[in-house]
Amino acid sequence: MTRVAVVRFPGSNCEPETCRAVERAGGTAFYVWHRDTSLADADAVILPGGFSYGDYLRSGAIARFSPIMEPIRRHAAAGAPVLGLCNGFQILCEAGLLPGALVRNAGLKYLSRPVDVRIERTDTPFTSAYRPGEVIRIPVGHGDGRFAAADSVLDALEAEGRVVLRYTGPAAPDAPENPNGSMRSIAGVCNPAGNVVGMMPHPERLAESALGSDAGHRVFLSLVRSLGRTDPVSERRSPAGVP
């Protein structure tokens, strides 16, 4: 069984659905607390969405100092999968595990809506079950989601193919293509080795057809498959209980 640690920071709030999404894909999910100093033999780590430390000062700025970040760094350096979703992405950027920063949306308001994103890379542990260039519609919910970095960094990201997800429009005839003004419409990036991925949209929120779409399911399926330990029974998307 693929063991996935879902990190709870004070103020995280997407942990239950993240665990359910992992389990629906055939993995085993468990919580680790931000003060823990080990990942309890996890094969992969997910930093879930939410408002760690209330987003005070800057989203992710305080959480990055949590004790759990040390084992996460080691895990990442060893090439094992690490995924940051929304606030988790913000924390990974603040921690320097991913490049750039996520700043206030260009519209200056919190934005909750579905977006269309294109899968730009399918050789990461979190996107391998998608087709290259596939466009999926999943929700965003963030106030600080505008990806920003120096031009040189952006050029390097493009050159190295490290843009994993890009906003593409339109998700509605009258909606802007790039919902938060992210530079180069970037919705998700990875580290040079491709094992650390961060994205602003929430695949875990739309990962079962009972809610209208399972567009996000394959993020978790990719992970479980890439670790090569799929449990054939639970892959049948049995509805998982709340962990």
Partner: protein, 769 residues
């Protein structure tokens, strides 16, 4: 001066102000109430006691003007686990699950400081629900503002929406619905009503009672500051220049601490470590401790010098009356205190013993060894005089009901639809609900933008449908019919998804009850709510009264907001609001009478607010609700949307425009108006109650009509869904006219109305953080 006569002794805290007649008046206690207090204590109260009485005997806490009327609500039913009187009402669902829900106003604080006022309103209602052991799974909000051409109203609107959003978003509770309306009476007096819905296992229900003499009281969560001192009595007076000056310190919300408090509270309840738990809402420590004691039939003693404060030198008066947010009061057996503190520490919170349960029935406050308050606890809660204000309908209201518009309309019947879709009260509220997280928790089945929000109960196949509604125009013109209409619309919205309405919570926003016309509105609106709830079998499980919603410019429109919860047995069968596919037959359910009284059409196109609002036929509404649930269950519905503001034409336009993120809106061809003598305005824009536009799968229209006949609901196939980006064509049979609109244009107007008006307002999003 020591206050000893024959009563129980209490002493002024050194340095505090003497209780003079002026000070009594400042506390909003009238002569009769003060005399009751002196008689009860058999001496003059200390300042701390005066503050305690002032808080608990405010309308907000005592319901002294409204209790007799509220008693007339139906509150029982097989589904009711907990009716009014606790922090939230609780209804039974399936498989051992129950739903706790409640609505509350935060009008006055939001008028002063929109961002924090609205944010702390959400915080308060979340605590009311998790205090019961329920995990919050949805919030809804009902907002009323003055017209958006006024900069102050735009500022209030922007701040309120941001405040509601930031708080719920941060705690991680999806906002699944709400309503917003604009009318001149709300200028300077906005309404912010927030509803929270939580889920629990019936066996885990926690009631907020103190019992067990010797048990310990602990405060848990944030420190106590000077925030909102006298918020409860502030909320019970009219806004005036004077209240500006003696405005309490603004309460600032901290949703981050709230989230920790939520987790810690649920863990404490689940672990069985507590005897009782209650949030500190209005009047903070005073009301939480006094109410818990009264419910448990015991006394309490608090030592305010033990309460952790944010600032040094706070007096017992200030500590008792502080409305600092994100605090809870816990009652526990002494040997559990350490375990409770350990749970709190895990969530980075503190819990501090500050008092104990006593056997003498007294509400006693000690500070640094001085007894500063000693009041018979039961009388403190029940002793407040009850008032029966006079209720008279002014003749002018009756005249207004009989009137009809005089001048020429601002547009012909075709152009009227464009004006209506551009009216901020009718237009899409996407500008609002995009600022609210509606998908966190990943149980959202139908998000905002339709008739009701629907969520799934985790780990099950069933769900809840939720809606908040009130048409204040109807209530102003005819409070009884308006009260009925609020319940009927909420129930209809819930029923449109296929759910069965289960029960309501209400938030009764009115003006000053001492004015007979206001109390008339109150009494009659409540009678309407009660009658409708009886007819639908949806008991009132709780709610909130907000009076004195008046500013120097006048009273608000009476606004009894109804929050409805419905049960959807199979979320797989939920019915969305909007048209789904070209070729689907369109069926109109209900009876069209061309009733334009009280309509949006008259308001927007004739600048005339008047006429009698459409009467609600309660039996017909109930039959319609049953039909919708049956039809959904049998798979006969592809979409269902009720007619409300703007009547049938607006409802059809909304069905065509589609869900907010639809890639392409759909057209429709519709034939209307068999009723002889109906003018096109009446056919298009009448607001007859009890009507729903539905679509069926191709070939099922007849089946639906047969089912409708069995339920006694008139049903008429009226047309067909058209092509994407097509036309909405409405043919009125009486006069052989066909009205045509291009749906993409309707869509643009409908979605652009609020952003166009609020465009520049984002600057004030500097508010908050």
């Amino acid at each position: 001066m020591t206050n000893v006569t024959l009563g129980i002794e209490a002493h002024p805290f050194p340095g505090e102000r003497a209780v003079t007649p002026a000070v009594v008046r400042e506390h909003n206690l009238n002569d009769r109430e003060y005399a009751e207090i002196v008689a009860m204590l058999r001496r003059a109260p200390t300042l701390t006691e005066l503050g305690i009485f002032s808080a608990l005997w405010s309308e907000h806490c005592s319901y002294k003007h409204t209790r007799p009327v509220l008693r007339t609500f139906p509150t029982t039913g097989p589904q009711v686990i907990q009716g009014p009187g606790e922090n939230a009402g609780v209804l039974r669902l399936l498989d051992g699950w129950a739903v706790a829900f409640k609505i509350e106003s935060h009008n006055h604080p939001s008028a002063v400081e929109p961002y924090q006022g609205a944010a702390t309103g959400v915080g308060g209602i979340l605590r009311d629900v998790f205090t019961m052991g329920a995990r919050p799974v949805a919030v809804l909000n009902s907002l009323r503002l003055g017209p958006l051409d006024d900069a102050r109203n735009r500022y209030l609107f922007a701040g309120i929406v941001k405040g509601v959003g930031d708080y719920g978003n941060c705690v991680g509770i999806p906002t699944l619905g709400g309503e917003v309306a604009f009318a001149p009476g709300y200028s300077g007096n906005p309404l912010v009503n927030a509803m929270c819905v939580g889920l629990l296992r019936e066996k885990d229900l926690m009631r907020a009672r103190a019992h067990g003499v010797g048990n310990v009281l602990l405060t848990m969560g944030a420190r106590t500051g000077r925030d909102g001192i006298h918020g409860a009595s502030f909320a019970s007076e009219e806004l005036s220049e004077k209240s500006e000056a003696r405005r309490p310190q603004v309460q600032v919300g901290d949703p981050f601490t709230e989230k920790l408090l939520l987790e810690a509270t649920l863990e404490l309840i689940e672990s069985g470590l507590t005897v009782g738990i209650q949030d500190m809402g209005a009047a903070g420590l005073t009301s939480s401790s006094a109410e818990m004691a009264a419910r448990g039939g015991v006394g309490v003693e608090l030592d305010t010098s033990l309460v952790p404060t944010r600032e040094p030198g706070m007096s017992p008066y200030e500590i008792m009356l502080s409305e600092s947010q994100e605090r809870m009061l816990v009652v526990a057996e002494p040997h559990r205190v350490e375990a409770i503190q350990a749970v709190c520490a895990k969530w980075e919170l503190t819990a501090t013993p500050v008092g104990r349960v006593t056997e003498d029935g007294l509400f006693r406050v000690v500070h640094e060894g001085v007894v500063v308050a000693a009041i018979p606890g039961e009388k403190l809660i029940d002793g407040c005089p009850v008032y029966h204000p006079e209720a008279v309908e002014p003749a002018a209201v009756g005249a207004r009901r009989r009137a009809s518009p005089a001048g020429a309309p601002r547009a012909d019947p075709a152009g009227a639809l464009l004006l209506l879709l551009d009216d901020p009260s009718v237009a899409s509220k996407r500008w609002v609900y995009e600022q609210y997280d509606s998908t966190v928790q990943a149980e959202t089945v139908l998000g905002p933008g339709g008739d009701a929000g629907v969520l799934r109960v985790p780990g099950t196949g069933f769900g809840l449908a939720l809606s908040v509604d009130c048409n204040q125009r109807y209530v102003a013109l005819d409070p009884y019919e308006g009260g009925k209409a609020a319940v009927a619309e909420a129930a209809r919205n819930v029923a449109c998804t296929g759910a069965v309405p289960l029960g309501i919570t209400d938030c009764l926003n009115f003006g000053n009850p001492d004015r007979p016309e206001v109390f008339f509105q109150f009494r009659e609106a409540c009678r309407g709510i009660a009658d409708a709830c009886r007819a639908f079998g949806t008991p009132v499980t709780g709610g909130n009264v907000s009076l004195y919603n008046e500013s120097p410019t006048g009273a608000i429109d009476p606004t009894p907001t109804v929050g409805m919860v419905g049960l959807l047995r199979d979320v797989g069968k939920r019915v969305p609001s909007h048209f789904r596919a070209p070729g689907d037959p369109i069926v109109l359910l209900g009876t069209s009478r061309g009733h334009l009284g009280g309509s949006s059409y008259w308001e927007v196109v004739h600048d005339f607010v008047g006429g009698a609002p459409p009467p609600v036929q309660l039996e017909a509404e109930a039959a319609l609700q049953r039909l919708l649930a049956d039809a959904a269950d049998q798979g006969l519905l592809r979409s269902a949307h009720d007619c409300s503001d703007g009547g049938l034409a607006v409802a059809l336009a909304e069905c065509c425009i589609g869900e907010p993120y639809a890639t392409a809106p759909l057209g429709a061809q519709v034939n209307l108006g068999n009723e002889p003598g109906l003018a096109p305005e009446g056919v298009l824009y009448a607001e007859d109650a009890g009507r729903v536009v539905v679509t069926t799968p191709p070939g099922s229209a007849r089946g639906l009509c047969t089912l409708a006949a069995r339920h006694g609901v008139p049903a008429e196939p009226v047309g067909t869904v058209g092509e994407s980006n097509g036309l909405l064509e409405i043919h009125t049979r009486n006069d052989h006219l066909t009205y045509r609109w291009t749906v993409p244009e309707l869509r643009r107007i409908y979605f652009d109305a609020l952003p166009r008006r609020m465009g520049g307002e984002s600057d004030r999003s500097m508010e908050g953080r």
